[in-house]
């Protein structure tokens, strides 16, 4: 339907109350009555929920009854419902681009307090849209095929779960992990709440499945370096760090580790959070996947100084897996979707000096205790103080770094349950007295409250109060040689001093130190706290503002294993939904050169950030390739002769919108 003359436009205008979201600050009925008087407006209505089925039906009926050929809806952000209304308009037989949306929620009712002024602003914005929509042209969305492969970044439980779902559906997955092994934080855990099933027993089979899956390309010790393209057609460069060991030749026999010139481990072991020492050549942990050793270039004598007997080479012998000449590799892959599952880091308790972590040796973090309690850990499951003795009393301080305006304001969501789990294990393993210091106990998941009950029945003591300090300042004979926790017990109503052997700090979760770099690399948004931002907190919890880019697990915010797995599944399903459709529709907002007016000055060529403009030397004219054009509009503004125009942003449309906005009532 293309209209011969602007005089033939028949506009339908609809203003949405959004329940009370808009109606509370904007007099919607008055806006509808005002717009009804504007030339070309055939029908103007207000309705409680325009996005609902009856709301959409209202528009469609009017299109048929009044032969409308333009539709304007004043409601929420186009990010939320522009696709909804375009679809509704198209279903009634109108070109979907004969539609214009006005945002009077985020831009008006949610940000203004004065109802009269807000209503006036809503009228002006609506008037501008009505003026603009007259000039809209019939367009068709651009279609591009979707590459069926997916990139998953991060090999923790979220990344592993998403990769396996995609691979099991027959799609190819690239799984990129920064560390030498996949497994992430979950691999460091002993048992998991609330069922106390062993983390390794449920995780390691999945790790092995990833390694052996024909549809998964697993790149550990690798990082994403560059991301180009858009949904369906991403080009990603992955940097594969040299591990100085050939992954295909190494069989994981660890004889090179035995043979290393360092007779004993000397460097803090990352996996055991420094509780044990490793050699320059090491396996990330016993169940590491892949079972391939890695050589630390910062520690290896051969790599650092060139001077070493290289006993590891002898040990490896004919396998020849060790390769000191290995170089960094940069591999380019093409994928249609990307799932980010980069996880979190734990809060550094040095930042709370009152708890004296790093000063008093028996103040440890929950992750350190977790490693100690694990049967395969550095103490083989024994809980010991730094002098080797067994603790008779253990205290857990919750919310270390969390729910604290001086540090992180958010709740880390897992520490209450995680500490209770550790407390139960400590009680079972050692019989020690256990006290948990909390400010609120949060146990809202399935089976979690029952787990809290179990903790109480096991005789674990709970003291409500934020701990003021941990000190070795003994005031009474019972306190001699112990750690003393000073806390205001807010249930008992007085300040207590509680002597303990071991103090465990339940450190909260934080975004990774380089989360901002990752955000920029993938063109995502972050909330103020630094967690990656979902497109909608309820309805698009794993989508981002970039199409084809999904987030799962703790990089989006603190969560436990069940929630991480659920998100990973959702992200995989979102990717599969796009892959299954086979193509994506793009906004036809591309620029085009009017060849009759183009003077061939070439001003536009260097302006285009996407190299979408070519120049025909024989005709002496520029041309925009719509398949590459991203619709940024830079060339349109830069063209001296005004001979480039952009779909959805023609000069007529923009000028009409401005005129409408500034017109007096």
């Amino acid at each position: 339907m293309n209209l011969g003359s602007l005089r033939d436009v028949r506009i339908g205008f609809y203003v949405c109350h959004c329940g009370s979201n808009i109606a509370e600050k904007v007099d919607c009925t008055a806006v509808a009555q005002y717009i009804a008087r504007l030339p070309g407006v055939i029908v103007s209505r207000d309705y409680k929920y325009m996005c609902s089925d009856p709301g959409q039906e209202l528009i469609q009926q009017d299109i048929r009854k009044f032969e409308l050929n333009r539709v304007v809806v004043a409601s929420c952000s186009p990010l939320l419902h522009e696709p909804t209304f375009r679809e509704a308009v198209a279903a009634a037989g109108l070109n979907r681009f004969f539609f214009q949306m006005v945002n009077i929620r985020e831009h008006v009712s949610w940000v203004h307090t004065d109802r009269t002024a807000a209503t006036a602003k809503a009228r002006a914005l609506a008037r501008a849209a009505v003026q603009r929509v007259r000039h809209h042209q019939a367009l068709e969305p651009l279609r591009a095929p979707i590459h069926p492969d997916t990139l998953v970044v991060g090999g923790g439980i979220s990344g592993i779960h998403a990769a396996l779902l995609l691979a099991n559906s027959g799609r190819h997955v690239f799984l990129v992990e920064r560390e030498p092994s996949i497994g992430g934080r979950m691999a460091q855990l002993d048992k998991t709440f609330p069922t106390l099933d062993c983390a390794a027993c449920i995780l390691t089979p999945k790790m092995s499945a990833v390694r052996n899956h024909p549809n998964i390309t697993l790149w550990t010790y690798s990082e994403v370096e560059k991301v180009d393209g858009y949904v369906g057609n991403y080009t990603v460069t992955v940097r594969r760090k040299p591990r100085y060991v050939d992954e295909d030749l190494c069989v994981g026999c660890k004889e090179c580790i035995e043979a290393c010139v360092y007779k004993e481990g000397k460097f803090p072991d990352e996996f055991n959070v420094g509780l044990s020492l490793r050699k320059p050549v090491y396996m990330a942990f016993a169940q590491a996947t892949p079972q391939v050793v890695v050589i630390d270039p910062e520690r290896c004598l051969k790599l650092k100084t060139g001077k070493c007997k290289q006993t590891c080479l002898e040990a490896c012998a004919d396998r020849k897996a060790i390769d000191f000449t290995q170089q960094e590799q940069h591999t380019e892959i093409k994928v249609g979707n990307i799932i980010i599952a980069t996880g979190f880091k734990t809060f550094d308790p040095h930042r709370i000096p009152q708890y004296r972590y790093g000063i008093l040796p028996n103040v440890i973090t929950s992750l350190e205790l977790e490693r100690m309690i694990t049967a395969s850990g550095p103490t083989a499951g024994e809980i010991r103080l730094r002098d080797g003795a067994h603790p008779k009393s253990v205290g857990f301080i919750l919310c270390v770094g969390s729910r604290d305006s001086r540090h992180n304001r958010w709740c880390s969501r897992t520490c209450c349950m995680h500490s209770m789990k550790l407390a139960q294990l400590v009680r079972e393993h050692t019989g020690a007295e256990v006290t948990i210091f909390y400010i609120d106990l949060r146990a809202p998941g399935k089976g979690y409250e029952e787990f809290l009950d179990r903790s109480l029945k096991m005789g674990i003591e709970f003291v409500r109060g934020r701990v003021a300090e941990v000190t070795d300042w003994a005031m009474t004979p019972e306190e001699e040689g112990k750690l003393v926790i000073r806390v205001e017990d807010t249930l008992a109503g007085f300040v207590r001093r509680i002597p303990l052997d071991l103090v465990v700090l339940a450190v909260g979760m934080e975004p990774h130190a380089d989360a901002q770099d990752v955000r920029r690399l993938f063109n995502m948004s972050c909330g103020t706290e630094g967690w990656f931002l979902e497109r909608h907190p309820k309805l698009a919890p794993v989508s981002t503002f970039t199409d084809g880019l999904f987030i799962a697990g703790c990089c989006q915010g603190p969560k436990d294993i069940p929630d991480s797995v659920a998100q990973a599944g959702a992200a995989a399903a979102e990717a599969l939904s796009l892959i299954g459709r086979g193509y994506i529709e793009q906004e036809p907002n591309t620029a085009a050169v009017d060849a009759t007016h183009c003077s061939g000055c070439k001003t536009c060529l260097p302006l285009c950030p996407y190299s979408a403009i070519t120049f025909d030397e024989t005709q002496h004219k520029a041309a925009v390739n719509p398949a590459i054009c991203k619709g940024c509009g830079t060339c349109v503004a830069g063209c001296p002769s005004g001979s480039i125009d952009q779909n959805l942003f023609t000069d007529e449309e923009i000028l009409a919108e401005i005129t409408g906005l500034l017109a007096s009532e």
């Binding site: 000096p353 009152q354 004296r356 000063i359 000190t471 070795d472 300042w473 003994a474 005031m475």
Partner: protein
């Protein structure tokens, strides 16, 4: 290097040894202190609690005088003065009402408040401006055998901590180490000494001071170093009363400037050491003269 110098009342009373040693040490280091002419009471903590505007006006007069002196950095050795002066600066900067009332009052005395006066603690000046290396070079008798509990008290770190960590200050630790002393880990370094409670609710005040002394003794200290005249007085003057109430604790409590003076090889009388209540003779006996 020249600073304006605000002694405050303590340094002319119970804290005379602080002033004597401070002036002697600064002279050795070639830092000139020019006493603020016609200075008045800082109001300490008491006046602030009674009438904030009047207290600020009283204190702001000193800052206005300092501005007129042309020296824009003022050294305030007493912790109470240091805090009251800084609190006044903050109050005037944050409250237009207080700023206006203070201005009006000062104008009547022909003075103008200027907010650019930096109020500095001598500890800060010594470590930041003079530097540990220059101090180390002046040491003639390293404080070998001195096991020092470094005690900062509350007022130079709370609520403002312009030059050190609020919970774990370390400036004095580093200074004393530069003098060759053994500085002990003392977790009570910023705990309350009892303040003026020793005068008003003696048993509570004494108990707080006693706990500080007992812990220092338990950790093997043979001297406590302080930055505040009131802390010094509370910790040293009531040791007999404490011995009657609890266990005996006997330990000299010195101003950090006195310890610097000892290390610089200055005469005991120059440092006011004879004014102390607990004898420092056993402590001084540990020193070895190092020929330089």
């Amino acid at each position: 290097m020249k600073f304006c110098y605000y002694p405050g009342c303590s340094l002319r009373g119970t804290g005379r040894a602080y002033e004597e040693s401070l002036l002697a040490v600064f002279q050795v280091l070639g830092v000139e202190l020019q006493e603020l002419a016609d200075w008045n009471c800082c109001g300490a903590t008491a006046y602030m609690s009674v009438d904030e505007v009047m207290a600020c006006t009283l204190t702001a007069r000193n800052l206005a005088l300092a501005a007129r002196s042309g020296l824009h950095q003022m050294v305030a050795p007493c912790s109470a003065c240091f805090l009251a002066l800084n609190k006044t600066k903050h109050a005037i900067a944050e409250s237009p009402l207080i700023a206006q009332r203070v201005d009006e009052a000062l104008q009547r005395a022909g003075l103008t408040y200027e907010n650019g006066i930096a109020v500095r603690h001598p500890l800060d000046v010594l470590v930041t401006d003079v530097g540990l290396e220059a101090i180390r070079q002046r040491v003639r008798r390293p404080l070998t055998g001195f096991k020092i509990a470094p005690y900062y008290g509350c007022q130079i770190v709370r609520p403002y901590s312009p030059f050190d960590d609020q919970d774990r200050p370390a400036t004095m630790d580093r200074l004393l180490q530069a003098l060759g002393a053994e500085v002990l880990r003392y977790p009570l370094k910023t705990k309350c000494c009892g303040g003026s409670l020793t005068g008003t609710m003696a048993e509570i005040g004494l108990r707080l001071s006693y706990l500080l002394l007992r812990e220092a003794a338990k950790r093997g200290a043979n001297v406590i170093s302080t930055v505040c005249p009131l802390c010094q007085f509370n910790l040293e003057a009531y040791q007999d009363d404490m011995a009657r109430l609890w266990e005996p604790v006997r330990m000299p409590v010195l101003h950090f400037t006195q310890l610097m003076g000892i290390a610089f090889g200055l005469e005991p009388r120059q440092l006011g050491l004879q004014r102390g209540i607990v004898s420092v003779k056993p402590l001084l006996a540990r020193l070895q003269e190092v020929a330089i």
